[in-house]
């Protein structure tokens, strides 16, 4: 066990995967000698050589499209998109080919490609560097979409993603790259497509993922003062979705709030609310609410604090869950 930042855990996962399986290749923009703009691939080119860890020409469709061809020839490419919004040039390759190749070929052709994408805001980034683009991918059948909220999950989920026979969109919450935690290598305890209860509680389920897991945990601490015992569920796998863990929690607490940075309209949270409502209706004491970014393009750095869901806004939302109707905690 060691204490690592999430970026360190991701780096260790890549190194261990490269070590474990010679079919694994790491490539993208600046991932070679520089180690990536966030240093996630730091030292890998030196250790594994430029045949396995290399810089490509600067073209995202090219990176994903060639990764597909390499996977067709038995490789397991792990590619990096430099930032969320810069994955958009690869969208056609991702949605029309990566996601569909297995289906189109009746299972004859597998394309086990992992696309790592630093995503989300909170780092004072200028425009095009802060998008939460998860819903574009979760809406695409054939892709797995996962996002770690802790350094340990950074390691575990990335190793699982690289081992997966399915293509995986691996969303890295860039504002949490530098958060530290205990990391144990090679001991993946939680299933790849399972959610985790990060903090047990009795009164309300806070459903979060990626960058919002830490925010949700902070909120749970603050909620104690209000007398609310908050359970925090970290989704980890956005697609497929772990109905069992999420609904198990909501049935126990009877109240739920979904939190994400992305704009709310047509967002991932809408799917979570619908699923929870359909499955837990008779256990609910209040409608399931969302705390999300506003329906605007990601704001400039000096305004992002107003956009990002924070502890106060989440607490306010919890407060609107019709508590007056009953004796709290009864």
């Amino acid at each position: 066990m060691s204490t690592l930042s999430m970026s360190g855990a991701l780096n260790m996962a890549l190194a261990d995967a490269l070590e474990a399986d010679e079919r694994v290749l790491v490539f993208g923009e600046d991932v070679g000698p520089l180690g990536g703009v966030f240093r996630i691939t730091d030292g890998l080119a030196a250790r594994f050589g430029d045949r396995r860890v290399f810089d490509t020409p600067l073209a995202e469709s090219g990176i994903v499209g060639t990764a597909i061809g390499m996977a067709m020839n038995g490789m397991r490419p792990v590619v990096e998109m430099q930032f969320d919004a810069f994955a958009y040039p690869a969208f056609e390759q991702i949605t029309s080919h990566l996601a569909k190749m297995r289906n189109r070929t009746r299972g004859k052709v597998e394309v086990p490609v992992v696309i790592r994408i630093p995503y989300g805001g909170g780092i004072g980034g200028v425009e095009h560097h802060c998008d939460s683009s998860e819903a574009y991918y979760t809406h695409t059948s054939g892709l797995r979409v996962v996002t770690p909220g802790t350094p340990q999950d950074g390691y575990d989920l990335l190793r699982d993603a690289i081992d997966s026979p399915d293509p995986v969109i691996f969303l890295e919450p860039k504002r949490r790259y530098w958060s530290k935690g205990e990391v144990v290598a090679d001991q993946r305890r939680t299933g790849f497509d399972r959610a985790l209860i990060r903090r047990p509680g009795e009164d309300v389920t806070l459903i979060a993922y990626g960058p919002m897991v830490a925010t949700a945990l902070e909120t749970a601490e603050a909620a104690k003062e209000e007398g609310w015992d908050v359970e925090v569920v970290d989704l980890r796998s956005l697609s497929p979705f772990d109905d069992e863990t999420v609904c198990g929690s909501v049935r126990r607490t009877g109240r739920a709030v979904v939190v994400h940075e992305a704009a709310g309209f047509g967002g991932y949270g809408a799917e979570v609310v619908a699923r929870v409502t359909e499955r837990c209706f008779h256990h609910l004491h209040a409608p399931v609410l969302r705390v999300t970014g506003f329906d605007i393009p990601y704001p400039p750095p000096k305004l992002e604090e107003h956009f990002l869901p924070g502890v106060d806004r989440i607490l306010d939302t919890i407060g609107r869950l019709q508590w007056d109707d009953e004796v709290r905690g009864a």
Binding site: L25, R51, T56, P57, A59, S61, G62, V64, G65, T66, A67, I68, G69, M70, A71, M72, N73, G74, M75, P89, E92, Q93, S96, H97, K100, M101, R102, N103, R104, T105, R106, G107, K108, V109, E110, S141, G142, R144, S164, P165, D166, D193, P240, F241, D243, E244
Partner: protein
């Protein structure tokens, strides 16, 4: 197998001003210092496969009229490209075709019924790509170029002797992926061959609105990809340039871009009306440059093709068409449960629920 010589110019980046050719449109041999006429057995095989391929093509179009195929994009007139390029490949090489290239598929040995599954509507793709080393026919234009480069680069990393040949249309050269693929292939010196079938049109849009460079082959120059312009209705020349590019790629010489000048004789698909955007005169002029007639004239003049062999080949084509009719006239068996099977390696819990729902609906 005949090999072309490899003079210095051929690996220079610029294509020739005039398309390379080995046969005039009336089938007289052309002496080109840069190309060597393929062996007689290759020419006879080219002829046989083109005749069979063309018969397959007319049969497929007929199947659309009988409602057996949803749609069919004909490659009539492009047989030199469809057949010549495939015969130039070795068994271990890969083909990355488009929707237009069904004749290339059957020439590669993909069974007709598996080739036509996509258009018949039973599934998106009917064959095992690994078995034939043929990628699924690609509809999103130019996206297959990158897959070919990736597969070829992986082959190189693994030390495999595999070349990838990717087919694209003239219109598809305007797509960004074509340019990214040329650049990636050049930077990586990947063993890949790009064959652009310039058939004059992208549905209704003519070359003049697609490109003002001296040729599409010139587009390789900016990426450092040696480029070749060839008469795409000359089966001998087409075979020779592709064979050469495959050999160069296999020997570590990197990618080649080939532009073949040809013509789409039929409409874009059976659902298109080409009279809305082109003249009958133009079509007639191209019919005069027919690739099958051309090789027939040459082989006949050489005494290699007599009436008996012509009849044998025609009979083979008829028998093949009859077998295609027979398999395609059988009703397609589809299984709704299969809808959920190949989305992920293992169906997710949600997909299993949805499969059960549909099964209940059908019970």
């Amino acid at each position: 197998m005949a090999r072309t010589s490899l003079p210095a110019r051929e690996r220079s980046l610029l294509p020739t001003d005039a398309p390379l050719s080995l046969l005039t449109k009336t089938g007289e041999p052309v002496v080109d210092p840069e190309l060597v006429m393929p062996d007689d057995d290759v020419l006879l095989e080219l002829h046989r496969r083109m005749v069979v391929g063309r018969r397959f093509d007319t049969q497929a179009t007929a199947l659309t009229r009988q409602g057996r195929l949803a749609v069919y994009p004909s490659s009539r007139g492009q047989e030199a490209c469809e057949v010549g390029s495939v015969l130039a490949l070795r068994e271990q090489d890969w083909l990355f075709p488009t929707y237009r290239d069904s004749v290339a598929l059957v020439t590669r040995g993909v069974p007709a019924v598996e080739t036509l599954t996509l258009l018949q509507g039973g599934w998106h793709n009917g064959y095992d790509p690994h078995e034939h080393r043929v990628a699924p026919q690609c509809t999103p234009l130019a996206t297959n170029t990158l897959h070919a480069v990736g597969l070829a680069h992986a082959a190189k990393l693994k030390g495999e002797d595999t070349v990838a040949l990717v087919l694209v249309g003239d219109g598809a050269t305007s797509e960004g992926d074509t340019h990214e693929a040329l650049n990636f292939a050049a930077v990586w010196q990947a063993p890949v061959v790009f064959l652009v079938q310039n058939n004059g049109y992208a549905i209704s849009v003519p070359m003049s609105k697609q490109n003002v460079a001296p040729s599409l082959a010139h587009k390789g120059v900016g990426y450092g990809v040696p480029s070749v312009l060839v008469d795409g209705n000359d089966p001998a020349a087409l075979y020779a340039v592709v064979r050469d590019a495959v050999r160069v790629a296999a020997e570590g010489g990197g990618p080649t871009l080939i532009e073949a000048i040809t013509y789409r004789v039929e409409a874009h698909t059976n659902a298109d009306d080409a009279t809305r955007y082109r003249d009958a005169d133009e079509v007639a002029a191209w019919l005069d440059r027919d690739p099958v007639d051309r090789i027939e004239a040459y082989l006949t003049a050489r005494g290699l093709l007599d009436d008996a062999r012509r009849a044998t080949v025609a009979a083979e084509a008829e028998a093949y068409a009859a077998s295609v009719r027979e398999v395609m006239n059988a009703d397609v068996e589809v299984d709704p449960a299969e809808l959920f099977e190949h989305v992920y390696a293992e169906p997710t819990r949600q997909l299993r629920e949805q499969a059960a729902l549909l099964a209940e609906e059908l019970a």
